[in-house]
C-alpha cells in the first residue's frame, strides 16, 4: 500500500514538477502510472523511493514514512529504475549477493530465490559474467531479480518494459500479475498504453505534475465513450490541458 498525500516538488524553486499530488495505491493491485514525457512520473517515483525529498506532503509505504522512517520504508519495496546500467563491473551473482546482504536476506533464502528467479528470467548462464557483458534486456532482468530478492510487499518499476524482448516482457507481466494476486502492490510507470490497458487494475494519468485521472480502467471508459482505446482517452486528456 502506498499513500501519497499533498506532495509537491519543484526544481530551482520555480518549475513545479509535481503539484499537490494525492494517490492511494492499495494492496493486491497492479497500478499503472501514465503520462507524457516530462509529466512528473519519474519525479514522483523518485520521491516514493526516497531518492529525492518532497517539498511538501508525506509519502507512506505500508504505513512507514519515507522521510521519518526511511530504512524501514525502503525495506518495504523493491525498485527497478528506468536505466539498468548499474554496477556494470560486478558479476551478476555478485550484484545479487550484494543486494541480498543489504536487504538482510538469509543465505538459504537467497540461494533458493536467486536460483528460482534466474531460471524464470532465463539468465542463469550469465550469473558468473560481469553485468557489463550483458545486453540491455539482460541488464533489465538482473535488476528485476535484484528487486524481488527480499520478496518486497511493494514493487515499484519505472518504465520496466523498455528493452525487453517479447518473451521477457511476457514473463515480466506474468510476474507482476502473480505479485498482485499474492496481495502485494505493483506500481509502475509506462509509455506503452497497450500494456497498461491489458495489465492494470487501476491507472492514474499525470500531466504537468497534476493527476488528471485516477481510477479503474472500466470507470475511465465509462467516463469517456465506451470501448474507446486508452490511447485515444490519454491523448484527449493530455492534449486538453
Amino acid at each position: 500500500m502506498i499513500e501519497i498525500t499533498n506532495v509537491s516538488k519543484s526544481y530551482n524553486g520555480k518549475l513545479k514538477a509535481v503539484d499537490n499530488l494525492n494517490l492511494f495505491i492499495p494492496d493486491g493491485q497492479i497500478f499503472g502510472f501514465l503520462g507524457p514525457n516530462g509529466a512528473g512520473k519519474t519525479t514522483t517515483i523518485r520521491m516514493i523511493t526516497g531518492i529525492i525529498k518532497a517539498d511538501t506532503g508525506s509519502i507512506k509505504l505500508n504505513g512507514k514514512d519515507i522521510q521519518d522512517d526511511a530504512i524501514l520504508a525502503k525495506k518495504q519495496f523493491g525498485f527497478v529504475p528506468d536505466n539498468p546500467d548499474m554496477f556494470l563491473r560486478l558479476k551478476g551473482i555478485e550484484y545479487l549477493n550484494f543486494l541480498a546482504d543489504i536487504y538482510d536476506v538469509s543465505k538459504e533464502s537467497r540461494r533458493e530465490r536467486i536460483e528460482k528467479l534466474c531460471k524464470e528470467f532465463e539468465i542463469s548462464v550469465a550469473l558468473g559474467d560481469r553485468i557489463q557483458s550483458y545486453s540491455h534486456g539482460m541488464r533489465q532482468k538482473i535488476v528485476l531479480i535484484g528487486a524481488l530478492l527480499h520478496e518486497p510487499a511493494i514493487w515499484i518499476l519505472d518504465e520496466p518494459m523498455t528493452g525487453l524482448d517479447p518473451k521477457a516482457a511476457f514473463a515480466l507481466k506474468e510476474k507482476m500479475r502473480v505479485q498482485a494476486d499474492m496481495g502485494k502492490t505493483v506500481f509502475f510507470s509506462t509509455h506503452v498504453l497497450d500494456v497498461a490497458e491489458k495489465l492494470c487494475d487501476q491507472v492514474a494519468i499525470i500531466n504537468k505534475g497534476k493527476i488528471l485521472y485516477c481510477g479503474t480502467m472500466d470507470k475511465m471508459r465509462e467516463h469517456f465513450k465506451e470501448n474507446e482505446s486508452l490511447e485515444k482517452m490519454f491523448l484527449e486528456m493530455t492534449e486538453n490541458e
Binding site: R46, T49, G50, I51, I52, K53, A70, I71, L72, K74, K75, F79, P81, M86, F87, R89, L90, K91, I93, E94, L96, N97, F98, A100, D101, I102, Y103, S106, K107, R110, R111, I114, E115, S124, V125, A126, L127, G128, D129, R130, Q132, S133
Partner: protein, 555 residues
Amino acid sequence: MNRFFKLSIVLFKNSLQVIGKKGKNSIIKLVLLFICLMMAFAPMVAGIIFFLWNGYDYLNQFNQAGAILSITLPVISFVIFFFGIFYVANAFFFSQDIENLLPLPFKPWEILLSKFVITLIYEYITCIILALPVILIYGIKSGGGVIYYLYSIIIFLTLPILPLVIATLIMIIIMRFTNVSRYKERFKLIGGILALFIGIGINIIYQRAILSSNSLSQILQTIAEGNNSIVNMGNSIFPTAKYASKALVYNMHLEGMLNMLLYLIIITISILIMVFLGEGMYFKGVMGVSETPAKRKKLSSEEFSRSIKQNSHIYAYAMKEMKLLIRTPIYFLNCILMNFIWPVFLLLPFITQKNLITEIKKMIPMITDPQYSGIVLAIVIAMGIFIFSTNGISASAISREGDKLYVCKYLPMDYRQQIIAKIVPALIMNFFGSLLLLIGAIYIFFPNIIIIFMIIILFALGALLISFLGILLDLMFPKLNWDSEQKAVKQNLNVAINLFIGCAIAGILVFIAFKFSLNLLGAFLVTGAIFATLDGLLYYVLSTQGVKLFKNMEN
C-alpha cells in the same frame, strides 16, 4: 587540420568541467582551493626559489651557474614523462569519450593529436610549478636579455612535448599488442603498469650508465674548467633538456641559437613520428577497449555456494566499492596504483645508487639518536600523510557514483554506514601504500619497538584524518555530472584539495617538530593528540552534517 583544431577545442572545453555544479558552491570551492594551493605550495615554491637563488650564487663561484638549468630540466622532463604515462593511459585509452569519437569520421592522428594537446595543457601546470622558477631565476640572476626571455617562452611551452611524445609512443605500442586478448581490459591494465616500469627502468639504466661513464675525477675536472662546461655533459634520456639548457645558457651566442634550432627540430620530428605511428597503430590499440569477456556458463553448485555468502552491510558495501575500484581501469590507475607509485619513487634512489644503502646505514645511529628521534618521527609521519593523501579514494567516493547516486539513496542502508563503508577501501589502500615505508622504518629502528608502535598508531590516526577530510570534501562538493570516469577521479578538485591539505599537514608537522625541537615522546603526544582530536571532530561532523549532506544530495 581544421577538424583537428575543432576537435581539440571541443575536447578542451569538455575537460574544463573540473568543478561540479555552477553557482555558489563552485565559488566557495574555488576560494577553498586557492587557499589550499597557497598553503600547500607556498612553502614548496619558496623552498625551490631559495634553493635555486643560493645555488646560483654557489655555482657561479666556479663559473658553472648554467648547471642549474642542465640539472633541473632533465629532472623536470622525467617528472613530466612519468605523469605523462598516467595522463596518456587515462585520456587516450580508458576514457569513455573514445567510444563516442570512434564512429565519427576522424582520422586516427586527428584524435590522437587532439588528445595530446589536452594532455599537454595539463602538463603545463606541472611546468609552472617546476620549470618556471628555474627559468626565471636563471634569467634574473644572469641578467638575461630579450633573447633569453624569448627562448624561455618557447622552451617553457615546448619542454613537455618530448617526454609526453615518448610516453604516448610507449603506450601506443604496448596497447597495440595488448589489445588482442579476450580479457582486453585486464591486459590493457597490465600494459599500463608495464609502461610505467619500462619508463622507470629506462631511466635507471640511463642514470647508471652516466654515473659509470663519468668518473669522479672526470666530473671534478669538468667543474674546474669553469665556463659552464657542466652544461655540455650529456645527462638525460631526453636530449631536448640538454639543448634547451644550452640554448638558454649561450643565448647571446650563435651556439645558443643553433641549440635552439636543434631543440625545435627534435621536437618537430618527434611529433611527426608520433602522428605517423599513431595513424597506423592508435585505433588498433583502442578499439574494443571496453569489451568484456563473457563465458555464459552456468555456475557449478560449489561456485554458486561460494558466491552467496552472507555478510554485514558495511562489509558488503565496502567490498562492492573495492571491486569497482579494482575493476574500473581509470579508478585502478588513479586510486589503487597511485598508492604504490610514491613508495616506488622513494625507493628509486636506492636502486639507482648502490652506495646509498650503506650511506643510510651509516646514518642510522644519528637517526635513532634520542636527540633527533622526535624530528625523525615527525618526518616519517609526514611522509605517511603525504602517501595517504595521494590516494583519492575517499575524496572521490561520492563523485564516483556519478549519475548512479540515486542507487545509494533507495538502498535501505543508513547514510552514516554508507559513509563508513566508502572510507574502508581508502584505509585498506592506505595500509598497503604505507607498508613499504613501515618496513623501511622497522628496518632502521628495529630493536626500538616503542618508536615502531608510535609510527603505527600515528599512521592509523593520520590515515583516518585524511580519509575523513576527503569524504567530507566530496560530500560538500560532489562532482556527479560526468561522462567519463576520468573526470570523477583525475579531474576532480576534491582529490587535489585533499592532496594539498595532506601536504600542508605534513609540512606543519615537520615544522612544529623542528621549531620546538620536540623529543620522541613529545612529538608522539603532540601529533597523536592533534590527530585524535581532529579525527573525533571530523567523525562527529560526518555523522551529523555529512549524513545530512548525503541525504539531501540530488542530481
